[in-house]
C-alpha cells in the first residue's frame, strides 16, 4: 500500500511537470497580457515599458527557467492582473469552491445511490423508467442553461432564492443543483448498471441462499461493489466537475476557482494561469489519491496486489 502511494505520488509529480510545461507553452503562443492591461490607445512605447515592468521581456526559455525555479520553491509568480502572488490569489478563492463542490457531490451521492439502487431493483418498471429519464435529462441539459432557467424561475419569478453570490444557506441551493445535476445523473446510471450486474452475480445468489434479508443483500453485499465503478470513473467525473465549476461559478457570480480559471485564460494572466492549472492539477491528484486509497479500502483486490 505504501509503495503504491509512493508510486502514485511519483506519477503525480511527473504529471505536474507535463501539465506545467504544456500550460507554459500554450499560454504563450499568442496574446500578451500587456495588451489587455493597456487601453486600446496605448502606444508601442507604453507597451514596451509595461512589458519590462512585468518582467515579460526575456526570451521565453529564460522565462521558463525562472518559472520552474520559482515553482520548485512553491512560488508561481505574481498575478499580472491582481498584482498579488498567484498562489495567494488561488488560495483566497479556493475555500469558496470547496464549499460548492462537496455540496454538489453530496447532493449527487444522496440522490444517486438510492435512485440507482431503486431503479436497478425495479428494473424495467415505472420507477426505473422515471429515474432513467431524469438521469438522461440531467446529462442532456447543459448546466449553464439550467442555471439561467433556475435563476429566472426561483429568483426572478418566484423570489424564493437569491440569484447569485455567496451568503447564507439559501445561496447554495441553485448553484448546487446546477453543478450537481449531471453528477446525479452520471452516478445514478453508473450505480444502476453496476447494481444490475451485481444483482445477477453469483455471490448475491449465495447471499440469498444463506437466507439473508433483502436489506442486507442490497446494502451490504451489493452497494459496496456497486461503488467500485463509481470510484474507477472518479477521474472522469472530476474533470466534469471542474468544467462544471467554471460554468456554474460564472452564472452565479460565485467567487471561486472555476471563475478564476476562466479569467486567467481570458486575460492571459500567465502566472495566475500556471498557478491555477498547477494547483488544479495538484488538487485533482490529491483527490484522486484519496479516492485511490478509498478504492483500495472498498476493493481488497487492489489493496493486496
Amino acid at each position: 500500500m505504501q509503495r503504491y502511494i509512493v508510486k502514485r505520488l511519483f506519477q503525480g509529480v511527473l504529471l505536474l511537470i507535463i501539465v506545467s510545461t504544456v500550460v507554459f507553452a500554450v499560454g504563450r503562443l499568442t496574446g500578451n497580457p500587456v495588451d489587455l492591461l493597456l487601453p486600446e490607445e496605448a502606444s508601442e512605447e507604453e507597451r514596451q515599458a509595461m512589458i519590462e515592468t512585468l518582467g515579460l521581456d526575456g526570451p521565453v526559455l529564460e522565462q521558463f527557467v525562472v518559472f520552474i525555479k520559482g515553482a520548485v520553491q512553491g512560488d508561481l509568480g505574481v498575478s499580472i492582473r491582481y498584482r498579488q502572488p498567484a498562489v495567494d490569489v488561488f488560495f483566497s478563492r479556493l475555500p469558496n469552491t470547496l464549499m460548492l463542490m462537496p455540496a454538489a457531490m453530496l447532493l449527487a451521492i444522496l440522490m444517486a445511490i438510492p435512485l440507482g439502487i431503486l431503479s436497478a431493483l425495479r428494473r424495467g418498471r415505472l420507477t426505473d423508467r422515471i429515474s432513467g429519464t431524469i438521469a438522461v435529462l440531467g446529462i442532456a441539459t447543459p448546466n449553464f442553461w439550467l442555471g439561467i432557467l433556475l435563476i429566472y424561475l426561483f429568483s426572478v419569478q418566484l423570489g424564493w432564492l437569491p440569484s447569485s453570490r455567496m451568503g447564507d444557506w439559501s445561496h447554495y441551493v441553485l448553484p448546487t443543483i446546477t453543478l450537481g445535476t449531471f453528477l446525479v445523473a452520471g452516478f445514478m446510471r453508473l450505480i444502476r448498471s453496476s447494481m444490475l450486474d451485481i444483482l445477477d452475480s453469483e455471490f448475491v445468489k449465495l447471499a440469498r441462499i444463506k437466507g439473508l434479508s433483502e436489506m442486507k443483500v442490497v446494502w451490504k453485499h451489493c452497494l459496496r461493489n456497486a461503488l467500485i465503478p463509481v470510484l474507477t470513473l472518479w477521474g472522469v467525473f472530476m474533470g466534469g466537475l471542474v468544467t462544471g465549476t467554471i460554468v456554474t461559478e460564472t452564472v452565479f457570480a460565485w467567487p471561486g476557482v472555476g471563475r478564476l480559471t476562466y479569467e486567467a485564460v481570458i486575460f492571459r494572466d500567465y502566472p495566475l494561469l500556471q498557478a491555477v492549472v498547477i494547483m488544479d492539477a495538484v488538487l485533482i491528484l490529491v483527490i484522486n489519491l484519496v479516492v485511490d486509497i478509498l478504492y483500495a479500502y472498498v476493493d481488497p483486490r487492489i489493496r493486496f496486489t
Partner: protein, 274 residues
C-alpha cells in the same frame, strides 16, 4: 433484445434531414438580417405571425431557420470532433494495447495526464490562442474525447490480443501493423461505434458550453449553443431565443443517449458501465 428505439431514430433522422435539406425547408437565410423585424415572438403569441413560425432573433433572423441550420452545424461539429478525437483515441488505444510495453505505459500516463487536466481549460486556451472557429472547436473537443476513447479501446484490445485468431495471424506471418488494421480494428469497431453514439451528447453539450464561454463557433453562424448564449439575457422579454435552442439541445442529446444505450445493449453489453 430491446425493440428498435423508434422515437430516437425518428428524431435523429429528422435532425439529419433538417441538416441536409435545411436550404429547401425554409425560405429564409440563417444569416441575413432584417433588423426592423427583430424579436418577433412565435406565431401563437399575440404579436407573432405565421411568417416566422418560431419568431425572430435580435437581428430579425428566423429562429426556425437558424435552428434548422444549427442542426447542420451541430452535426458537423459533432461528426468532425468525434472523428478527430475518437480517431486519435482509437489509434492510441489500439497501439497502446497491442504493442504494449513502454509505449503502453507512456501513452497511458498521457491519458492520465489528460484526465488530470481539465479538458475544458485546454479547449478555452486553444480557442483563445487560435481564435474562434470550426477547426479550433473540433480540435478542442477532440482533445476532450481522445483519452476516454483510448482507455476503453485499449482495454478491449488487451482482451483481443489473447484470442486465437491473433495468434493464428501471427503464425501466418502477418506484420504487426497488418494485424492491428485487419484483425484488431474490425473487432473493436463495435465498441468504437457505441462510444461514438454515447459521446454525441457530450460533444453537443461541450460545444454549447464553449459557445457560452465565448470560445465556440463564432457568430453569425447559427449554432444551438451560441443561440442559447445569445438569448440568455432575454428570458423574460424574449424567452424563445434561449428556450427553443436549449430544448433542441436537450432533446437531441437525450435522443442520442437513448439511441446509444440501445446500440450498446445490442453491440457491446459489457460497456454498460459507461
Amino acid at each position: 433484445m430491446r425493440k428498435l428505439p423508434w422515437v430516437s431514430m425518428l428524431i435523429i433522422g429528422g435532425m439529419v434531414f433538417a441538416a441536409i435539406f435545411a436550404p429547401y425547408l425554409t425560405p429564409y437565410s440563417p444569416i441575413e438580417q432584417s433588423l426592423p423585424e427583430k424579436l418577433l415572438p412565435p406565431f401563437w403569441e399575440a404579436k407573432g405571425s405565421t411568417k416566422y413560425i418560431l419568431g425572430t432573433d435580435i437581428f430579425g433572423r428566423d429562429v426556425l431557420t437558424r435552428l434548422l441550420y444549427g442542426a447542420r452545424i451541430s452535426l458537423i461539429v459533432t461528426g468532425l470532433s468525434l472523428l478527430v478525437g475518437g480517431g486519435v483515441g482509437l489509434a492510441i488505444g489500439i497501439a497502446s494495447g497491442y504493442i504494449g510495453g513502454r509505449l503502453d505505459s507512456l501513452l497511458m500516463r498521457l491519458v492520465d495526464a489528460a484526465f488530470t487536466f481539465p479538458a475544458i481549460l485546454f479547449a478555452l486556451l486553444l480557442a483563445v490562442t487560435m481564435g474562434q472557429g470550426l477547426d479550433t472547436l473540433v480540435i478542442a473537443i477532440g482533445l476532450l474525447l481522445w483519452a476516454g476513447f483510448a482507455r476503453i479501446i485499449r482495454g478491449e484490445v488487451l482482451a483481443l490480443k489473447q484470442r486465437d485468431f491473433v495468434a493464428l495471424a501471427k503464425v501466418h506471418g502477418c506484420s504487426e501493423l497488418r494485424i492491428m488494421v485487419t484483425h484488431i480494428l474490425p473487432n473493436v469497431m463495435n465498441t468504437f461505434m457505441v462510444l461514438v453514439t454515447l459521446n454525441v451528447g457530450a460533444v453537443i453539450v461541450a460545444e454549447a458550453s464553449l459557445s457560452f464561454l465565448g470560445a465556440g463557433i463564432p457568430p453569425p453562424t447559427p449554432s444551438w449553443g451560441l443561440m442559447v448564449a445569445e438569448g440568455r439575457g432575454k428570458i423574460s422579454s424574449a424567452w424563445w431565443l434561449s428556450l427553443l435552442p436549449g430544448i433542441a439541445i436537450t432533446l437531441v442529446v437525450l435522443t442520442f443517449n437513448l439511441f446509444g444505450d440501445w446500440l450498446r445493449d445490442r453491440l457491446d453489453p459489457k460497456l454498460r458501465q459507461l
